[in-house]
Symmetry: C2
């Protein structure tokens, strides 16, 4: 499912929701131990998997059989200098991004666009896709860990050392900021859209509310729910409550239409709850200034990239 799409389409991008809001599906059977795919010439938008073997994490733990899913569009130029990296938002997938980014947000005639699935989104390694570390045995990871996995994709699989632009929406914007601070010599530009370098108090309140809702949910069962996944209506309702402005919600969905719309939300189990859990934790730990004692100015001092920062005029987070 696409969590930021309404906020993005209504407030930021001017795209129609019909384009953006298709629900995500489980990945095709990519869990077959496929050999690494060399894709430097590919730009067809197909789902590809980079096999990174193991990924060391900020926590000291390791993702075993670490994989990063991605899609490319356009052509890498001769100097490998036209890469635009676009990671997914919270609960987002490149399947959805493929419908709104190429040719719309990024000119794929000029740029080699790499859409990348963030860790824990059901396509890249995470609780729902790992055989070795399933469910909450999958270690906690950070936004920085997502960035490091993407950097290895670029260097080890695509042969790219430096990117023209990292851009993304919401949690994708967090990754863009993290890229600029962690690898200042490898990022020329960032375009974070409704992202943040450091969570506000309201952000912390929102993501803690979702985390504690999951943890306290009978259906979630501490992550040990049976398949098919149970419905957790309150989590979806909370998420949608904060996804758009009240004015947008009221304009989009009449009181009469509310029961049917609400049921659609309540029935949505497309995104795995343990993946949701681990991506929440990644956002909650996000702070590009954590290495500078929380000093954002010091962290900003490291950045060499130019930035185009896009924020929402109204947002609940």
């Amino acid at each position: 499912m696409i969590r930021a799409c309404l906020a993005a389409t209504s407030a930021i991008l001017g795209l129609t929701s019909a384009i953006a809001c298709a629900p995500a599906r489980r990945p095709p059977s990519t869990e077959t131990g496929a050999t690494p795919t060399v894709t430097t010439q590919a730009g067809d938008g197909d789902l590809r998997i980079a096999e990174l073997r193991s990924c060391a994490l900020d926590s000291g733990e390791t993702i075993e059989g670490c994989r990063v899913a991605y899609r490319t569009f356009g052509k890498l130029d001769a100097t490998r200098s036209n890469v635009v990296l676009f990671p997914t938002w919270f609960t987002g997938t490149t399947k959805t991004l493929a419908g709104i980014v190429p040719g719309e947000l990024v000119d794929t005639k000029r740029f080699f666009l790499v859409l990348v699935d963030a860790l824990g989104n059901g396509f890249s390694s995470g609780p729902s896709s790992s055989r070795a570390q399933p469910r909450l045995r999958f270690p906690k990871f950070t936004i920085h860990d997502m960035v490091e996995s993407q950097r290895r994709l670029l260097r080890e699989v695509l042969g790219v050392q430096r990117v023209h632009t990292v851009m993304g929406i919401s949690m994708g914007g967090m990754q863009a900021y993290e890229w600029a601070v962690s690898h200042p010599d490898e990022v020329e530009r960032i375009v974070p859209i409704v992202g943040t370098p450091q969570l506000t108090t309201q952000d912390l309140l929102l993501w803690n509310a979702e985390l504690h809702l999951l943890e306290g949910s009978t259906a979630y069962a501490g992550g040990a729910y049976a398949e098919p996944r149970p419905k957790i209506p309150a989590l979806q309702e909370l998420h949608w409550l904060m996804l758009t402005t009240p004015a947008h919600r009221n304009a989009e969905t009449s009181r009469d239409a509310f029961p049917a719309w609400s049921a659609t939300i309540a029935n949505d189990t497309a995104f795995d709850w343990n993946d949701w859990h681990r991506q929440l934790e990644a956002m909650l730990a996000h702070d590009v200034a954590r290495g500078a004692g929380g000093d954002l100015a010091a962290a900003a001092g490291r950045v060499k990239a130019k930035g185009l920062v896009i924020v929402a005029e109204q947002a609940g987070w």
Copy 2:
């Protein structure tokens, strides 16, 4: 606890939060079968209980041993024409209202102010205060049922047939609208503050999220939780998320202060969860136009009261 206080104090009333935001406590031992109190001369702000025996509800069910708690300030004039009725907001109590209304919002030298505890708030009849119908055996009630219980308090105990003004904040504003539509000849003025005559889609989404969170909560245990009441952090966090604007939250609580502030919220069990449940249902069913096929204009056509409607410039609900 006072749920609307920050929204009200920051956006509407200009009061300081120090005045308004004291947490509610359980009522003193009023469950002793006290005889009806005649209070037409009283105006001391003490908690009083009107014994209404039984209250017939919209559902067809009955509240047994029905009681309405209230406090009065000022003096009823000779023509009994100076009554200002001020019911509580969602999860609110007259104990809290007593700190912000008399002399601040209402001139008690001129008016006979009646603060009244809405059904299901722990002081008036509700799941936590009923011996005959405890917990979820307490029947569902509506905003209209609250109004009818208050009308009986006025007529049967205070000897008042007509009120100068009904005013209230949030769910208190819903009651003010309901009064004006249900009893047009008995209400001269209404002052609903961040109230609504009919829930918006965003309102429905918020209150459904809280209701489903409770229903799906392991700690809530379908209403059969043991005492002392368990913590339900996610519910408090969700509630506070929507209580103020993001800008207010971020200004009031720094990132560094968040853990301590968040813990205070998470530990708050002052308001009974079954009371919370039943008051949520009352709000979810609220619609002053329900008797007019949802036609707000038709409902408004019944109203004879003058209205001063106060809304928030920014609100998440």
